[in-house]
């Protein structure tokens, strides 16, 4: 068997080597396909990961709000299999998470992550006659750095300064620019509920996401509670998990335990993630098409070789080589072209990734000034696997045709 394998390899290699130029063109076709598939996948995944990372950094992994997904079950519904309730009016309930600190302690007992309270208040921030709508987030400066990157995102001032100043506020740098405020200035914060207060700008934050930087402001929890008009109010528990991918599972468990609506970052960005899935589907379709086109080159080369080698095929069969052996020779030739293209394509894809990754460019989102490139082995394996499979597939048909040649017809014709 080893002898037959040696024979197959030596004939295939000899055929391919005897047509160096043709082989080179075929290899180049596959290499281009693989190389561009790799760089395309690297760019697509890189940008996706970058975007998701910014998204995940900018928001809690799980957000527990003072809402419930379903209205509370009525006593009549508990007692009877079927109940019709009419004329029910929604009772005025105090907003907020009940016993937030006890709840936080209970969650932290089992949750693989940290929890921080926050209060959200919609407000208008005014300075020097200019005003802008803002989302004021009341935070606990000791806990908040554990659940968000706010501390690292402070460009001027510091998060701790919120505790030192009375009514301190940290503005997103985009927001500050809009109204022309700087650190040390006093701004007026007014809510729709009628609360108005003067606050001193103690810092500027920059998350890299324009929408956040132009609308977000941070105050102490107490300050935001005053703005929201309810002392002791906590309307959101922000949770950062050790493993960001556990967010969905943890959100379900928290909701089951507390009854409060718990939303994972995935749920919050379901549409975006679906769009990514569609984008990936499009990407792999295009990659498949590129590699399919490259395989036409392999088909052509193997077809040409089998056509030129008709007489050799006849003699090999007359000597006693099986059809399957002859078929394997030509399939192996296609594999050699595919393998050569794969290896060069991998190198090409890697070098292009390095090259593109080093180009400085201003991106429309975030702070990055380089194209985000993901270096993932699976890009190489998928592109290489598809290229090799399509080469073998392309080589199989001419190989099968060649192997089924009737030697007598060719020997008669050549004699």
């Amino acid at each position: 068997m080893t002898g037959a394998l040696d024979l197959i390899v030596s004939i295939a290699v000899t055929h391919v080597r005897a047509r160096l130029r043709q082989t080179f063109v075929g290899v180049l076709g596959v290499a281009t396909g693989v190389g561009f598939s790799v760089i395309m996948a690297a760019l697509m995944q890189g940008s996706q990961e970058d975007f998701v990372a910014q998204l995940v950094d900018a928001m809690p992994h799980v957000s527990v709000s003072d809402e419930r997904r379903n209205p509370p079950v009525q006593p009549a519904e508990q007692d009877y299999a079927a109940a019709q309730i009419s004329g029910q009016s929604t009772p005025a309930m105090r907003r907020g998470v009940k016993n937030p600190y006890a709840l936080m302690a209970s969650l932290e007992a089992w949750l693989p992550g940290v929890v921080a309270p926050s209060v959200q208040a919609r407000a208008v921030i005014r300075y020097a006659g200019r005003d802008t709508a803002a989302n004021v987030v009341g935070v606990d400066p000791r806990r908040e750095p554990k659940v968000s990157k706010i501390a690292a995102q402070i460009r001027e001032g510091s998060l701790e300064a919120l505790q030192r100043a009375s009514n301190g506020i940290i503005l997103g740098d985009g927001l500050a620019k809009k109204i022309g405020a700087r650190v040390g200035n006093s701004v007026v914060v007014a809510t729709g509920g009628g609360a108005t207060m003067s606050a001193r700008v103690v810092g500027l934050s920059h998350s890299g996401m324009k929408i956040n930087d132009e609308t977000q402001a941070y105050t102490l929890l107490k300050t935001a509670q005053v703005l929201a008009g309810q002392t002791g109010l906590v309307n959101e528990l922000r949770i950062r998990l050790n493993d960001v991918m556990q967010a969905r599972e943890m959100a379900d468990r928290i909701e089951a335990q507390t009854g409060y609506k718990s939303v994972s970052w995935q749920e919050q960005n379901e549409d975006l993630l679906s769009a990514f899935a569609i984008r990936n589907l499009i990407m792999y379709t295009v990659v498949g098409a590129i590699l399919l086109v490259a395989s036409f080159g392999t088909y052509n080369i193997v077809s040409t070789i089998t056509h030129e080698k008709t007489r050799d095929i006849a003699i090999m069969k007359s000597l006693g080589l099986r059809e399957s052996t002859v078929r394997r020779i030509f399939v192996l030739e296609a594999m050699i072209i595919g393998l050569g293209g794969l290896l060069i394509g991998w190198a090409l894809g890697y070098l292009m990734s390095r090259g593109l990754g080093s180009i400085e460019i201003n991106l429309p989102f975030g702070d990055k000034n380089h194209l985000p490139i993901a270096y993932a082995p699976q890009h190489y394996l998928i592109a290489g696997g598809v290229a090799l499979a399509s080469s073998v597939f392309a080589g199989y048909f001419p190989a099968r045709k060649a192997a089924s040649l009737h030697p007598v017809e060719i020997i008669r014709g050549a004699s």
């Binding site: 000899t14 006849a314 003699i315 006693g320 050549a414």
Partner: protein, 233 residues
Amino acid sequence: MSAPLVVARGLTRILTGEIETTLVDGVDLDIAAGEFLAITGPSGSGKSSLLYLLGLLDEPTRGELAIDGRETSRLREEARADLRLSTLGFVFQFHFLLPEFSALDNVMLPMRAFGRLSDRQMTAQARDLLASLGLEAHMGKRPDQMSGGQRQRVAIARALANRPKLILADEPTGNLDSHSTEQVLAILRKLVDETKTSVAIVTHDLSLAAQADRRVHVVDGRLAPHAAPSNPA
């Protein structure tokens, strides 16, 4: 008396198509072990077609063919290929050597396909074969670097590579000069005499046919009842 190596009974080959053509028509033929058989006949008489049937390169439309005691008519393609590889050797009018390979590699080709010997054994055996045919100096040459006679001797060496029991030769001297023809004939004769290998040769060459142990004459796909050794063509 030992059983014949080849037993053909009612061997018939008909080409179907718009016009049906009978190439071989009910041939009964035995070839004994160690026999040198010449198959003669006019052009288009079906002698090469008969040889291809005997060599399992073609399948008979009717009839039975046993080679080395094995009935072949119901064998699958792979089994026929295996039997060709192990038992039969072919020499054609055109040498049919693989052009990119050296003489040594060409001779080793059937050995490697057979896979019974180690690399070293295959190389040694192929060298011995080529040397026995006077090709010591040409082992590393490709076919385009050799003369017609040398190529044909390489082709004979290749046919002998797996020590077949039967060599089938189709006009092996058709493209050779008289000196090379004599050489090839002497090789085949020696093969029969020394190794008891059977040889069936299709030829127009009267001198070659005269040196065979037996001659059969084919006319219109049938064996002529009485061969005429002095006038085979």
